[in-house]
C-alpha cells in the first residue's frame, strides 16, 4: 500500500505548466533534476544546488518554492508552474516586459526564478512598498544587477 510501504522508486503524476506527466522516479531524485533532465523543462535552472540562490524556484500548487529543495516524489499530484507559464502565445507578460524595459537582468540566470518570485509577491501584495519587494525577493540572489532595476521593474507593474 502506498501509504505504508516505503519505495525506492515511485510513479508520480505531475502537472507542469498545464501539461500532465506520469513518470517513474527515484525517491532520491530532486524535483529540479526531474523537471530539467527527465521532463526537459530546462527553463528551470540550477544555481547553488543548496537552496540559497533561488534560481531553481518554481510555483508548487501556487506557492513559490525552491525545486532543488524538494524531492520529486513530494511533488506527486502537484501542479508546477515554471517561468514558461508567464507568457501566453509568445506574448510576454507585463512583468516580463517590465524586466526587459527596466534592464532588470544582465546574464539572465536568476531571471526565471526572480520572475516567479515577483509574481508570487504581487499575487499576495498587489502594491508592495520597496521594503516589501526587497523582502519578497530575499530568496533569489542576483550577482549582476545589484537588485535596483529588479525592484524598479516590479514597482513598475505593481498597483496594476
Amino acid at each position: 500500500m502506498p501509504g505504508t510501504e516505503p519505495q525506492t522508486t515511485r510513479q508520480i503524476t505531475i502537472t507542469v505548466d498545464g501539461v500532465e506527466y506520469t513518470q517513474e522516479v527515484e525517491a532520491s531524485d530532486l524535483l529540479v533534476h526531474v523537471l530539467r533532465d527527465t521532463l526537459q523543462q530546462t527553463q528551470v535552472l540550477i544555481g547553488c544546488d543548496t537552496g540559497n540562490c533561488g534560481a531553481c524556484s518554481v510555483l508548487w500548487n501556487g506557492r513559490l518554492i525552491k525545486s532543488c529543495m524538494m524531492l520529486a516524489v513530494q511533488a506527486d499530484g502537484a501542479e508546477i508552474a515554471t517561468v514558461a507559464s508567464l507568457s501566453e502565445n509568445g506574448q510576454l507578460a507585463d512583468l516580463q516586459q517590465s524586466f526587459s524595459d527596466n534592464h532588470a537582468l544582465q546574464c539572465g540566470y536568476c531571471t526565471p526564478g526572480m520572475l516567479l518570485a515577483a509574481k508570487a509577491l504581487l499575487e499576495r501584495t498587489s502594491d508592495p512598498s520597496e521594503e516589501e519587494i526587497r523582502t519578497g525577493i530575499k530568496g533569489n540572489i542576483c550577482r549582476c544587477t545589484g537588485y535596483v532595476n529588479i525592484v524598479k521593474a516590479i514597482q513598475s507593474v505593481a498597483g496594476s
Binding site: 516505503p6 544546488d49 524538494m70 519578497g136
Partner: protein, 289 residues
Amino acid sequence: MLLRQVAYVRPGSVEEAVLALSENDEARVLAGGQTLVNVMKLRVASPRVLVDISGLEELSYVRSGDGGGVDIGAATIYDDLASSSELDDGYRVVREVAGGVGDPQVRNRGTVGGNVCLNDPTSNFPPLMAVLDASFNIVGPDGERSVGVGEFFAGSYGTALRDGELLRSITLPAPRDGAGAAWVPLRAAHLSWSMMTVAAWLRLSGDTIDEARMAVGCVHGSPVRVENLESALRGVSVDDASAIEEATAGLGDDLEPPSDVHASADYRREMASVVARRAIREAAADARS
C-alpha cells in the same frame, strides 16, 4: 548534488506515520525538507527511509486549545503560522518570528515542528518556546505523551523524541494578564543569520515586572533560560532604564558562547546585555499593547 538511494513513504495519517517510523530501521521524518534535503545532499546524514508528513492536514493547523491557549500542528508551515490570527491573543511574537524565517520559499515549505525537532543552536523557535513555556505533544508506538521545554530540548540537535516517535503538536498556554513577549536577533545585515537571539516574556503589573522569562539562543546547544537575569528583573520597573541596565549588565558572564565565523565569543558576551535590553523593551511594549 545527488542523494544516496532512499526509500520514501507518504503516510495518509499520523497513525500510519508512526507505524512507518517504528517498523523501518533508520527511518526519519521528512516535513518541509528545508534542512533535511540539504543534509542528504551533503551526505551528512542519509536515512534509509523517509516518512513524508508534509501533506498531513492532521498536523497542519493553528487553533485555540483547551483552556484558552493555542495548539499548533507540528507540520504547520511558517507562512501559515505567520498569517494566523489565532495567535493574535498573546502570541503575536510567534507570527513575527515565523514571518521572518529564511525567505518566502523556505516559509512555504519549512515547518515549526521541523525547527524545534532540529534544535540547531541557531534555530529561531527553541528560545522563543522556552520563554513561552510551550509543551510538546509527542505520539509514538507506545501512545501519546507531552513534555515541557526543559525535557524536550536536549542539547545541540537533540530532543526528547525516541525512536518511532513523532512530534504531533506544540501547545502554548493561555496568555496571562499583563504579559507580553518579544524575540530579538542580533544580525550582521538585514534579514541575515543571527549571531545571537534573545527571547523575553514579561508579566507586568502597571510598569513593574512581576515575572520574567529570558532565554538566549545561538550560544548554547539548547536554549538557555537565564535565571540570574530573571530574578534580577523581578520587581523592577520597565520604565527605569538604569535599573534595567543594572539587571542586564552581568548577562554575558552567565553565557559561554562560541567563537565562529559570524562573531567572537567576546562580542556575543558583550552584546548579550544590549540585545536583552531590546527584548525587554519590546516585550513590555507587547504587554502594554
